[in-house]
């Protein structure tokens, strides 16, 4: 029965992760899903993914009433919604085909602007890891090996240690063509990219994968709650807390502490040129917290009397470093100089499997400098000789971060590598470029 279904599979299934191939495959077999993808991409391009005005493909977003322009959680949830929809409605026969499709979607989303929203790629990788786990998990429980590398797997001399990765990348292109012709029982030494279990056609896989995705969705729904629960562990009575700019996570964290009758003072840096700090201060004051706004140049001056610095994250990197809004590094260095602990409050969906190879340019973006200096104020001859730049983010070294408070617990930067191994599969780390 399986043997007869395999030839069909060759023509109907996606054979490469090339974004163009994914699109043409979707348009041929699943035009509705392609339309959803297009809609998602348009909103991504327009930067409207984080706004709540539009209904998502799945309706998930209706629950979140955020007005902030940088609600990464919302972006993540809408991405999961999209993936869930596509995975649920498209035809694929086994884990390997699904992974090829997901990787293709990851590349597609990266191309249309996903690099500005690293959370999108993170969640694609997260779903891929879930698929790998489900595809490898045989009912007998024996096949626990999902290709994870450890000293144990070296001891067993498992194929992932013996096979050289360069061979793997060479054979990657032809392995997908082969998968259609080769019987599902691939042997251990074959050049297939995925473990043999991934090529076994399993009709129940869709069900278990959807359940795994639902778990991720539930986790995302609980992100703020889990972080807020830890607020009183970190904010103590009478403390002076410094925070930088506007962050929904930190705002809710501080308010949660205040609601539990902790009295403390918050110093908010205004975060020029976007001045998110003003909005943040307003909202904190409204919650009855003693709030002070300072301009960014005064950070070092007030640092001496600060007990703790709270920072938000744009992305958490594999070495435990942090990408946060521009100016955060200054805060972190000021705190480091005064031996003030720097605590980063973030959901783990911002964890990126990448290293800051480009230093301050990592995941950074330059936006219009109109906020730095008003164009009408500068005479034309000056404008031509002055360069104005407005970077959005800062990279903060792991040495300057004391603790990450996340929805799954509190960790030192040196522990981040471990979370990465739990969240993503090492073979999916590679960029979607």
């Amino acid at each position: 029965m399986t043997a007869s279904s395999i030839p069909d599979l060759g023509s109907n299934s996606l054979s490469t992760s090339d974004p163009a191939a994914v699109r043409s495959w979707l348009s041929k077999h699943h035009p509705k899903q392609l339309a959803l993808l297009d809609k998602f991409e348009i909103e991504l391009r327009l930067g409207r993914l984080s706004s709540t005005t539009k209904a998502g493909p799945d309706g998930v977003i209706a629950a979140v009433g955020a007005t902030s322009t940088s609600d990464r959680l919302l972006v993540t949830r809408r991405t999961v919604g999209l993936l869930k929809h596509i995975i649920g409605a498209t035809r694929w026969k086994n884990g390997a085909q699904l992974l090829v499709l997901l990787r293709g979607l990851g590349r597609e989303l990266h191309e249309v602007g996903g690099f500005r929203e690293p959370v999108i790629e993170n969640i694609v990788r997260r779903v891929m890891a879930a698929v790998r786990e489900e595809a490898a998990g045989e009912p007998d429980g024996k096949a626990t090996d999902t290709g994870r590398l450890s000293l144990q797997s070296i001891l067993w001399a498992l194929p992932q240690h013996v096979k050289s990765p360069s061979n793997r990348s060479l054979s990657r292109t032809d392995s997908h063509q082969r998968q259609s012709s080769i019987a599902s029982e691939a042997d251990l030494e074959s050049t297939n990219e995925f473990p043999p279990a991934f090529y076994v056609n399993r009709p129940e896989l869709k069900q278990t994968v959807m359940e795994a995705i639902q778990e991720i969705v539930t986790e995302l729904e609980d992100v703020y709650g889990n972080i807020e629960d830890q607020a009183t562990n970190h904010i103590h009575a009478g403390e002076v807390i410094l925070t930088y700019g506007k962050s929904k996570t930190i705002e809710r964290f501080l308010i949660a502490a205040a609601e539990k009758k902790r009295t403390f003072q918050v110093v908010v840096c205004e975060d020029s040129p976007s001045f998110g700090g003003h909005e943040m201060a307003k909202s904190l004051a409204k919650a009855g917290i003693d709030t002070i706004v300072i301009h960014d140049s005064a950070i070092f001056a007030v640092m001496a009397r600060v007990n703790k610095v709270l920072l938000s994250a744009h992305a958490v990197l594999a070495n435990g470093g942090l990408v946060a809004s521009s100016g955060s590094n200054m805060v972190a260095l000021g705190a480091y100089n005064n031996a003030v602990p720097v605590v980063v409050i973030t959901g783990m969906f911002k964890l990126c499997p990448m290293f800051p190879h480009e230093g301050q340019d990592t995941l950074n973006d330059l936006v219009s400098p109109s906020k730095v200096m008003d164009i009408t104020e500068i005479k034309d001859d000056l404008l031509s000789s002055v360069e104005l730049i407005n970077p959005v983010h800062d990279y903060v070294k792991p040495e300057h971060v004391s603790l990450y408070v996340t929805n799954v617990g509190s960790f030192q930067p040196s522990y981040i590598y471990r979370l990465l191994a739990e969240y993503y599969h090492t073979d999916d780390w590679k960029s979607f470029e």
């Binding site: 000293l151 070296i154 001891l155 001399a157 240690h161 050289s164 070495n319 471990r418 191994a421």
Partner: protein, 349 residues
């Protein structure tokens, strides 16, 4: 029964060492070929030698087998400690042997009920170990070459095949410079420089070991290999590595270590003298100066230190504590030093 075991093991001992030598031959037989890709690393050679012990063993119980393996590995470690080629192999042998003993125990405890079947399982799996060395180096090169960026200057110390793989892979896509310390006493750095500049065509500068402080502000990253990685994430490597790491941190330069994970050893040195070093090697240097220039101006009269008034110390390795290490590039991934103990604990718990 016990006496019978010890005699068979005693017969094995010379064989184990022969095996070890044989497995290492590919790397030592041909000195010219510095970058022999097929070369077997010390821990892997030790594992292969122990496999030979299992193969020849007459043991009928697990305890007997373990005893024999223990004696064989002790023997190899002794031999490694007394070798005088200027490199400390004892840590590498130790990590290889420990891994293998753990592996055998695991197989016998968890796998099959029958002793003979277990032995066969150990042997068949063991054959795959041969590929591990090479695959690990490829994987590390894959992971780590991105850490070298276009136009950077990389400072390295000593000769390491892993480091060489990384640098070669990086050089295939970008331009960068190498600065390498001369590497006394065996001039390992100078030899490596020849390889990098002539074979790999990477612009290479050699400086004196003592010039590391002078050169440090011109380099972007420091990358070294390791003889062994100890439990706290520190490393044991060629003499001078500790000074280099200290210097790198003082100058705010990242200090990276490339090492295969089978070099992880259950060792917790607190002081430099805690690492198992080779005995007293007489101080002698490989002279890297060429005699083409006018000899009177360049060469200095040799100093005779053979008088008993001066004490000479010449250890081959030093210990670099984890606080100086930014990241470790291993085949298990890019790890922080604290991750090393994590991996070891998970294996030996």
């Amino acid at each position: 029964m016990t006496t019978g075991t010890s005699t068979t093991a005693a017969d094995e001992i010379p064989l184990v060492l022969q095996d070890l030598k044989k497995h290492l031959q590919s790397s030592h037989g041909d000195d010219d070929n510095l970058f022999d890709k097929s070369a077997t690393a010390m821990p892997v050679a030790a594992i292969k030698a122990l496999l030979g012990v299992v193969e020849r063993s007459q043991a009928t119980t697990m305890m007997e087998m373990q005893n024999e393996l223990k004696q064989a590995s002790d023997c190899m470690m002794n031999a490694a400690t007394t070798s005088t080629d200027g490199r400390s192999h004892s840590i590498a042998v130790r990590s290889g042997c420990e891994l293998f003993l753990k592996y055998v125990t695991r197989t016998f405890l968890e796998e099959l009920p029958d002793f003979e079947q277990c032995r066969q399982a150990v042997l068949t799996r063991g054959e795959r170990f041969a590929g591990i060395s090479l695959a690990a180096r490829d994987r590390i090169a894959d992971l780590a070459s991105d850490f070298i960026q276009e136009g950077q200057t990389v400072l390295t110390h000593g000769w390491s095949r892993v480091v060489a793989s990384i640098l070669l892979q990086a050089a295939s896509t970008k331009h960068f410079d190498i600065v390498i310390l001369e590497g006394r006493p065996d001039a390992a750095g100078a030899r490596a420089a020849q390889f990098y500049s002539q074979r790999a065509k990477i612009p290479t500068t050699v400086v004196l070991d003592s010039a590391m402080g002078y050169i440090m502000d011109t380099v972007d990253i420091v990358l070294v290999g390791a003889e062994g990685v100890v439990e706290n994430g520190g490393i044991v490597n060629k003499m001078g590595t500790n000074a280099l790491a200290t210097c790198a941190q003082a100058n705010g330069k990242p200090f990276y270590v490339a090492a295969e994970s089978y070099k992880f050893a259950r060792l917790y040195p607190l002081l430099q003298r805690d690492i198992p070093n080779v005995g007293n090697i007489p101080m002698q240097f490989c002279d890297t100066t060429t005699n083409t220039t006018k000899e009177k101006e360049t060469s200095f009269a040799p100093v005779d230190l053979s008088s008993d008034k001066v004490k000479v110390e010449n250890p081959p390795c030093d210990y670099t504590p984890p606080k100086f290490i930014t990241l470790l590039f291993t085949d298990l991934g890019v790890l922080t030093p604290s991750a090393v103990s994590d991996e070891l604990i998970r294996l030996y718990q």
